[in-house]
Symmetry: C2
Subunit: 453 residues, 2 copies
């Protein structure tokens, strides 16, 4: 929990400085909201909640028995109205539509909650896990995309993780398919391009040929793949290809629109002084059936684990719930992978697992009464302090401090009480000092905690 809180608190702090508000949605949604949104496989992975009361009493079981046995899917619909949320996106869309009258658009929200999937549990895959989503909905401005890039930049700078931000645009991909002369083959083309690094140019071309692309179409793709140089140079070259300068001579209005968006976003990123490297990656194909503009992916530059953050712009998140033309853009932080990166790079700050800064050993009833007000004064200043509840053997109390990673121990016995002092020992360095019992500032300085408040 301490490490997860560190990640979430860092992310939340950044969200807040950008004016995003936190929302929570209930764990249970109507199954009618959830079903059909995640494909056939997703429907199977939904946890369904049995209706309360005598939910089976009105069921005619014969209706659900077919020649093959019981139709579990149909019967479960009969006895379950609710399911556990499967992701944060669908509940968010439901929320926006339901509260559209009260929401101020553009609506900037973040949401950090668990989701549930009835997967077979295995290493790295849990039936309950956290998602962390941030979205702006109700504006088509590229400033929204910029904000998400800035948020990513700031979060990983605070977490001390070097990242690479990759950006693509769905409209540009559509444009390529159009100037190839195969507007329907966006997915096939993108999937093939995605394999370039792994299988090489020849194999990619072979794969596209297998998907029915002609040689002249493949020639256009080759022109695209050979683009190199700076981001602005790439955009300029794509602009020339997209406006009829490719081998096919075809042009694409959608593609040009996508390039306008990319160009504006990169210009904003430059103005904002984003410190992480940001580059165009034409093979970025996540959420291809879903995103309509920018597509984002973030990778750690020092730890190989795949994408740790991703998202994009969508134009029809809420259409399925009856609110069309609500464009938005969002990203999702992969908390579990970010955890793995921080663990792998040893980037969690020290002391996260320590329950307190100082433990007062329990030397007996009167000594304890003596240290209680000292502990109170330190706590009032924000210092985490424990008093061992039993006057057990010192060895046991030392062990408790060690197991809970408490770095300072106070053994204040009758001599210190007589002298109105408090003794504090740094368990790491071994250094031990005595303080006047009211000299809270000096104790805090020895503990290495700032004297705020």
């Amino acid at each position: 929990m301490a490490e997860r809180n560190y990640i979430f608190d860092t992310i939340k702090g950044v969200f807040r400085t950008f004016g995003y508000s936190q929302i929570d949605t209930p764990a249970m949604e109507n199954l009618s909201t959830l079903l059909g949104k995640y494909g056939e496989e997703g429907d199977k992975l939904l946890f369904r909640v049995l209706n309360s009361g005598d939910c089976f009493s009105k069921v005619n079981f014969d209706d659900f028995c077919t020649g093959d046995g019981v139709n579990s899917a149909a019967l479960s619909k009969e006895v379950c109205e609710k399911g556990l949320r499967y992701d944060l996106t669908v509940p968010f869309a439901r929320y926006v539509v339901q509260h559209q009258g009260e929401i101020s658009f553009p609506f900037k929200r973040f949401q950090i909650q668990p989701v549930w999937r009835a997967d077979r549990p295995q290493k790295g895959r849990y039936r309950e896990f956290y998602q962390c989503d941030v979205d702006v909905i109700g504006s088509r401005s590229q400033l929204c995309e910029l904000e998400l890039v800035q948020i990513v930049d700031k979060v990983f700078s605070l977490l001390d993780v070097n990242v690479l931000v990759k950006i693509n645009n769905r409209k540009v991909l559509t444009g390529f398919a159009e100037i190839c002369g195969f507007p329907d083959k966006v997915v096939d083309i993108t999937v093939a391009i995605d394999k370039l690094d792994k299988i090489g140019l020849e194999a990619v071309e072979e794969e596209m040929r297998g998907k029915g692309l002609t040689d002249s179409a493949i020639e256009v793709i080759e022109q695209i793949l050979k683009l190199s140089g700076s981001t602005s140079g790439k955009i300029a070259s794509m602009r020339s290809l997209m406006s009829g300068g490719s081998a096919s001579g075809l042009s694409s209005e959608t593609g040009m629109k996508g390039l306008d968006e990319l160009e504006e976003l990169f210009s904003l990123i430059e103005a904002a002084g984003v410190s992480s490297p940001v580059e165009i990656d034409l093979s970025l194909a996540r959420g291809l059936n879903y995103y309509t503009g920018a597509i984002f992916e973030v990778k750690s530059r020092d730890f190989a684990i795949g994408s740790i953050c991703g998202g994009g712009r969508y134009d029809n998140l809420t259409g399925i719930f009856g609110l069309p033309d609500m464009s938005g853009v969002g990203i999702s932080f992969g908390a579990d992978r970010i955890y793995d990166v921080l663990k792998g790079l040893d980037k969690f700050p020290e002391g996260l697992d320590s329950s307190a800064t100082l433990l007062f050993a329990n030397m007996g009833p009167s000594e304890t009464r003596y240290v209680i007000p000292v502990a109170k004064s330190l706590r009032d200043k924000g210092v985490a302090v424990e008093i061992y509840p039993e006057s057990s053997k010192l060895k046991k109390q030392f062990d408790y401090a060690a197991r809970k990673s408490i770095p300072f121990l106070s053994i204040t016995g009758e001599n210190e009480v007589a002298a109105c002092q408090v003794s504090v020992k740094n368990l790491v360095s071994g250094e031990q000092r005595c303080f006047g019992k009211d000299d809270i500032e000096a104790i805090m300085s020895f503990l290495g905690v700032a004297t705020e408040k």
Copy 2:
């Protein structure tokens, strides 16, 4: 969410200074863990989660059809292995038993999570609501009770709510029943005493007579009810009654033990300088079948709403899961009622609902590029800043600031850009000032935010 976060963040901050660690348990528990723990009514209010896969395919429905129709309870057990947690106590007990090898005792934990109950939803009663529990388990020391009283005192002082802390002790109640000569009637006696304020002494005595208490037993109760004076005076009088000085002449060892505990706790409370009033309330009867020592209840002194916090010591929380003799003490903060108190007394701090401190109006693309780095510098200092994403009419942008309670607006147009300035207006006072665009400290001072970090 902002108001709920304010309450939880305050509480969490206090828990941390006392060295409590946060734990989360999964939403779903095995039904075998949950069933039978909350009484018959509780079992009915458990949300059950349907097993995944073809869960109905192996069910022989005839087995569950009785003369009266389908036995829903039995069938649901057949097709549901998991349920949603109903409170935080049972999952905590399960957690302690399961992780007993890894936990350092005394184990100090807090937990703030939603729970689910299949109640009919109504005003103030939801199917999903948060509980906020803090417990120490594995120590019988009264220092644990003291810490909880100190935590309550500190939390409500930070929330600026005057509270009264009431304390009782189960062993003292047992003692009273024993010196009455009716050791089995603890509950009847306590329930009757609890009504004293409402129905008066005569009616209370009538009720006890109805429950089978003799006149001489009632005389003993009367002696107890007439106790008045200081806490130490009351304890001394009870000590005399409990040691054979009552009308019955009977004495109670358990009662004496309870008085020892009460006396020690009050002495510790005095040593700790707890600022809220703390008093003995012999009618306090919460969790009577469950608590074995101290019983706590906290009430607002300025807002009538019943108890806003309560708890006590238990000796057998984990026994049901196979780990006996694990004494603990805990309290639960009633977040919903605390919310009502803060609302009712108008104690939520100002600005909680504002999404940001400053909104930069969008005056066009070049002005926006100009303010982006200023916004970044402010955010890097921890200030929440928004840039309106579209260059809409100013009226619309003003409305956005108003609806989101953003107190400062910057309208930085071409004149300011030409002069390398930023204009900031206090929307509450109407005061407007210009700053050099790099003079972040001066802007922050005008915004009234501290320049930390």
